[in-house]
Symmetry: C2
Subunit: 348 residues, 2 copies
DNA sequence: AATTAGCACTCGATACCAAAGAGTGCTAAT
DNA sequence: ATTAGCACTCTTTGGTATCGAGTGCTAATT
């Protein structure tokens, strides 16, 4: 039902549409691609492909454009590709010149990535809730306020202030820090139960009140977790040059989806758990604002643990054959870099 | 040269244009506003106002639209206004429901602000470089890596990792932290000179190497300061509904300006030092991408020190009479909140 | 001297029509 | 199974006529 030539024609049609954003005609296909058949034959094949749901027409006498199903087939059969050497080089340089810190590195990388491919990059940044905790440290700020610093095994840190009733000094806090750090190993943020805190209080009875405050604050922090903005976007202004975004309504929709980021965050979170990159196309998003978009996303890892996701959002006719290898390469590179001694030395 | 009636007509013309985005005709002015003269008279006045540079025409037989000079006059004579009670209430609620931390509070506030007025909010966030330092604390992370936590007098913190050669333990670091905190009072990030570090080394000769690493890292951090992203944007998707943004080229320009944020950051930084709010209009930006925009910006203060800026970017015909009081109110409210015991208690 | 009725003029917006052109599906011939 | 040929569909483009909003100017009026 889907012989080689038909497949080739579908592939050529999609490739051509990706390149031009114009509906593809039988004439163009027979002239620009070597099928050694006249356009009428191709016309018959196109008709079949439309009936099978891989292509569609905007109106009765227009050329064909791919459907979601068409793109999906196209993407699924893409062979692992390489990216151009100069692009790989540029990304490498970007990493080496990036500023301090994980967040800043991601900002730099996604900005350059977007300008390279002219689509929008979207990023899920690491947070303290991934992985297990490693270090806790308390710093006395005011008489009644302490800054709590937490670090997980991936080296991602979080800080927040806690208000306390009891008077303590930094010496006390150092003792608490030491105890916490000792007891924290293997625990995640959410597994710090009431019982766990109670057992701590028994070890340091004189600082019971403070520990109570601390436990409550961390609990509240976990509750607020979802509110926390762990998502950013770069380079929409690069993408907006593409012909589909001459359509104001479409531009509005995509901007809205990027700002009300729930759906995108959800999709990225799915990609976090996948071993490979994830491609989403048009109707596969449960968001009408994204019906005309495609997304390629892949996770990056610190020491083999996925801690965040980099994605590329573009029009449905995005050049997947370039973007997929690109995003795989970039996430690998970022992960390696964030795990590297070099990064850690210069102050990650 | 500018009698009362003329002024009133100009004001009415600008108000009407702000409301409708349509060029204003003499007929509309004579009918909707009570000048008690026929349209022909108004026509004469409009002609004068155009010659004086306050109004302009799109083409020979069109109504008038305000020029930058017109808007400027209009804005400069605005009387201090109040905002509606329900809006004030909503902002207050937003603050109380905002998440932990300064950054998250600002994100919430700017999101709600944008949805209230349908323009884009832009925010300069506080950073460690403002104000003088108060506390430094070092935390041992790995054998050769420490996390440095700095806090300034406004309660804004920064963290970064430092790689060290010498073996130290947390006890050592506690001693260093204590010394640093003692010596830091009144110093700014940039005034930590080589001499200052040398004097520290003399007090703790056994940790000389570590202090050297630390000094160098902080120096590098200061160099990188400008790279740091201390700027964010919310609610462009609200604004894009306005009729001027049906023009794709304009949308592209404004988006580009928001992403290449240099010019905007510069303008906001000027507002940081001003006692009142700052309004910028069209040609007053040295950026062709912002020629059709207006900006109202004002700083927010922690304990009377300006530490950041909230701005509203809209089309040139933005409703300044609403936005100016609004932004003044919001920045005041945010500053008070960030300075308040309530905020500090619940974990700023 | 200020105001205004009246009018000619400009220019954009809208509608309509014709012609051109791109592309298809189908039929019949190869 | 392929394809030449053709009728048909629909969009695009350009031209033209018309409408109407709005102006500037002149001359009359207050």
């Amino acid at each position: 039902m889907m012989d080689t030539r038909k497949k080739k024609i579908l592939e050529a049609a999609i490739t051509h549409y990706i390149g031009t954003a114009e509906p593809v005609s039988s004439k163009v296909l027979s002239e620009k691609y070597r099928f050694d058949v006249r356009s009428a034959t191709i016309r018959n094949e196109l008709n079949d492909l439309e009936k099978e749901g891989y292509l569609s027409q905007l109106h009765a006498s227009s050329g064909r454009i791919p459907t979601d199903k068409g793109y999906r087939l196209f993407v699924d059969q893409l062979k692992p590709g390489n990216l151009q050497g100069d692009q790989a080089k540029l990304m490498k340089q970007t990493l080496q010149l990036a500023g301090y810190g994980v967040e800043q590195t991601l900002v730099q990388v996604s900005t350059v990535l977007s300008s390279l491919i002219n689509y929008t990059t979207i990023v899920l940044t690491p947070n303290i809730y991934q992985e297990t905790l490693k270090i806790a440290h308390l710093i006395l700020v005011d008489l009644d306020r302490i800054l709590v610093v937490l670090l997980n095994t991936a080296g991602i840190n979080a800080e927040f202030f806690v208000h306390i009733q009891d008077r303590v000094d930094q010496e006390d806090l150092n003792r608490v820090s030491q105890l916490l750090t000792k007891k924290l190993g293997g625990k995640s943020m959410t597994s710090l139960t009431d019982e766990w805190w109670l057992s701590l209080m028994q070890e340091l009875p004189d600082l019971k009140g403070m520990l109570k405050n601390l436990g409550e604050s961390i609990y509240q922090l976990v509750q607020q977790q979802t509110k926390k903005d762990q998502f950013f976007t770069r380079g929409f202004s690069n993408m907006i040059q593409l012909p589909e975004f001459r359509n104001i309504e479409l531009t509005q929709k995509v901007l809205t989806a990027l700002e009300e980021n729930k759906v995108l965050v959800a999709v990225l979170n799915e990609a976090l758990r996948l071993p490979e990159s994830k491609v989403s196309i048009g109707g596969e998003f449960f968001d009408h604002n994204l019906q005309e978009c495609g997304l390629v996303a892949s996770s990056y890892k610190i020491d083999d643990e996925p801690i965040g996701v980099i994605g590329v959002l573009g029009p449905k006719r995005m050049d997947y054959s370039v973007v997929v290898p690109m995003i795989q390469h970039v996430t690998k590179m970022v992960g390696d870099y964030l795990s590297s001694a070099h990064f850690k030395k210069r102050g990650g």
